[in-house]
Symmetry: C2
Subunit: 430 residues, 2 copies
């Protein structure tokens, strides 16, 4: 199956496709540590070549080409590291790799979100591996943790801050008092946000990652299309400020929870209690918190992106799979479909912000509709005396379907309500 | 090497020694999930027997005996799970196991602290494994994370809350306003602290765990004897209160840092900034935070003790090593000795609490000695007007040797200083 070097040590051969931000980090770590891995772990890793669109940027002593498929065909490596980005090209590459017996390691969550089912099935049929630690939460070794450290555990819930761009924006809105647009502009200036930030700020990127993570944790396919996704664009400075005053911090939380009736899966801005460790995960950091029957709550946090943080995850996959070739078992990525429930079946406390006219009886009218829908109010707060008046209510635990029914009625009262009501769930418990 | 069952699936056989709190958790998970592991992972795990001092407590369908060595000799399993506690008995057991080709999985940090060097060497020579995920930080899969997820990383620093008892006491002192003795009594009542709490409250237990963790992270032996260890017994409510007022929370922090001149390794109460995620790790939770060149800061938190949390780590080790039998490489636990520097060579900001008489000129005298030792003061606070007056100073970054020299001079001034000065380092940066 594998080659052996001059002293009888097995040689594991790999090719690198893509030498941009992450790929160059991988090259730096590889050339720094390959002798160390050989000495310390008995692992002889040979880089057979690099395929990239800009060969002149590769400064390490290795064969460089622009033709990735030719490189794979010629060298037939054990692993290909796909760090090129896009979807069609890496998908073709994956098919070529699997066809010839090469395993795939990738940082490409868009690829796995679009083509994951086919990729995982092709690899499984050929008894090959797909490593994607780098596709979720950058430097946080969350995939490996779910597969090994928590292998004996039954998951009940997981929640994560899986998108660094939006976490950076929310942190700046809070700490600098900036509005959304100013915080976004700053993130773009620093390279934390793309020119078109839609995928990040609308929660799509976090949803792709949640799909991968939840499927693995619950061993059921939770497709992106089944995840309720809300972004951060409708949040205002007042929401951030009031959340803080109430003892919370707003985070774009990606969550999946097992319920008897089915999974609840969502990406949405959430008020996280300042006593919850995830509330202190600020700026571009990512985090994942989980609950299992055995361990109770656990949390991992770290950098979610960047050259070396993401490269460290690619290298970890390479070392891990290189060492376990010859194992009896492979890692499963294809699961039965999970039964995902509509978001309305979930229960939570809620933060509600109503934009109302300045007239007596408005609060009574709102409270009455909420009451008719079995929603009880825990506290009320009011901001400014200029119209629209901002009325903030925090509810006791309520069924989300009831809340939505109530808000539909309330928001239709155009004589007293000036803008659509903002409703955000609360995360309180550890 | 291994047996094969009737459909050609490899069978991995293991024995359990000790069926107390953790052992019974292991039995519960095993009997719940063994069919699942077989179906899902192709892993057929066979429990060959349980040795325990109280056979009547084992209610699962398995052979139970009081004679552990006889069980090992008769069954010759692939793995023995040592959950008996103590040192001499499990050490004998480990030697019997290695002699006959059985790998060891243990939750026993005292054993590894006392006999680790011999155990790791015996196992290595026989090409066997030693799993000890459960010995450090209970449910947090930190050993596996250091070995796999961060395999490509160079550690710069690690800090942890590795003892749940002291973290519970410190949390109660803060949130309930209790003094140390009352908080300890409550911890004992709830079973979080032993009748003789010395090992926990003096930092010995955390030091044992730091020794294991730091050795693995830095791939250098950091023996317990080289770790500077201070407990929490001299802390007073006023320290907890002032820390909070200054924006910090006191944690018993176990730390190891790589410096050009050598490692700095300590267990000591530390003021952790409320902005640092580890400050929110409360009650009996544990946490580990690390810095590597590649990832920057990362943190893991979760339950550090208890039946199922610790059992989940034992099971994770069992599943992991059972699957990787046949790997090319083994996991190394024997390292060259690390060069550990005296604690005085470290630099930090410090919180200082002086107990002084109520006389003019006292502060000038203290400040003058600090100044002569190159320690500059960032802020000053004073509590109460009754003697002894509590004067709190926060310093700028200072060499600890200079601080100790200064405090020796100051504490000798018995005409103005009533008790030994309390000095605690600050942890500020992420």
């Amino acid at each position: 199956m594998c080659q052996v070097d001059s002293v009888g040590m097995p040689v594991v051969r790999f090719a690198l496709v893509g030498a941009g931000v992450v790929g160059s980090g991988v090259l730096d770590i590889y050339f720094r540590d390959k002798v160390l891995w050989k000495d310390r772990e008995g692992l002889d890793l040979e880089l057979v070549g690099v395929a990239t669109r800009t060969p002149s940027k590769v400064r390490h002593p290795v064969e460089v080409t622009t033709d990735a498929s030719d490189l794979l065909h010629r060298t037939r490596p054990d692993f290909v590291l796909e760090l090129a980005g896009g979807i069609d090209f890496p998908f073709e590459l994956a098919k070529i790799a699997f066809e010839q017996g090469t395993s795939l390691i990738t940082a490409n969550k868009a690829l796995l979100s679009e083509k994951g089912e086919e990729i995982f099935k092709l690899a499984w049929d050929k008894k090959l591996e797909v490593g994607y630690e780098a596709a979720v939460a950058g430097s946080i070794p969350i995939i490996r943790t779910f597969r090994t450290g928590l292998a004996g555990c039954r998951f009940e819930k997981l929640s994560g801050i899986l998108n660094g761009t939006t976490n950076y924006i929310l942190t700046q809105m809070e700490t600098q008092g900036w509005d959304y647009h100013r915080a976004l502009a700053k993130a773009q200036e620093l390279g934390f946000a793309e020119a078109d930030p839609t995928f990040d700020v609308e929660g799509v990127d976090a949803g792709h990652k949640l799909s991968l993570l939840a499927s693995l944790a619950f061993q059921r396919k939770i497709p992106f299309s089944s995840i309720w996704t809300e972004g951060i664009t409708k949040l205002q400075s007042i929401d951030i400020r009031f959340a803080k005053q109430l003892g919370f911090r707003i985070k774009l939380l990606a969550s999946c929870q097992f319920m008897e009736s089915g999974f609840l899966a969502s990406v949405r801005p959430t008020l996280v209690s300042l006593n919850h460790p995830i509330s202190n995960v600020q700026l571009e950091l990512n985090a994942v918190t989980y609950n299992t029957i055995e361990t109770g709550m656990g949390l991992l946090t770290g950098k979610g992106a960047g050259s070396l943080p993401t490269a460290s995850a690619v290298i970890a996959d390479l070392l891990y799979y290189a060492k376990r070739r010859g194992d009896w078992t492979r890692e499963r990525n294809t699961f039965e479909a999970g039964n995902v429930s509509p978001i309305g079946t979930g229960k939570s406390r809620f933060y509600l912000r109503f934009s109302t006219v300045d007239k007596p009886g408005v609060l009574a009218e709102i409270a009455s509709v909420l009451g008719q829908n079995s929603i009880s109010i825990a506290s009320m707060h009011q901001d400014s005396s200029e119209e629209p008046i901002q009325v903030i209510l925090v509810t006791h635990s309520a069924l989300e379907a009831n809340l939505r029914a109530a808000l539909e009625v309330i928001d239709a009262k155009v004589n007293i309500i000036k803008e659509n009501t903002v409703s955000l769930p609360l995360l309180q418990d550890l």
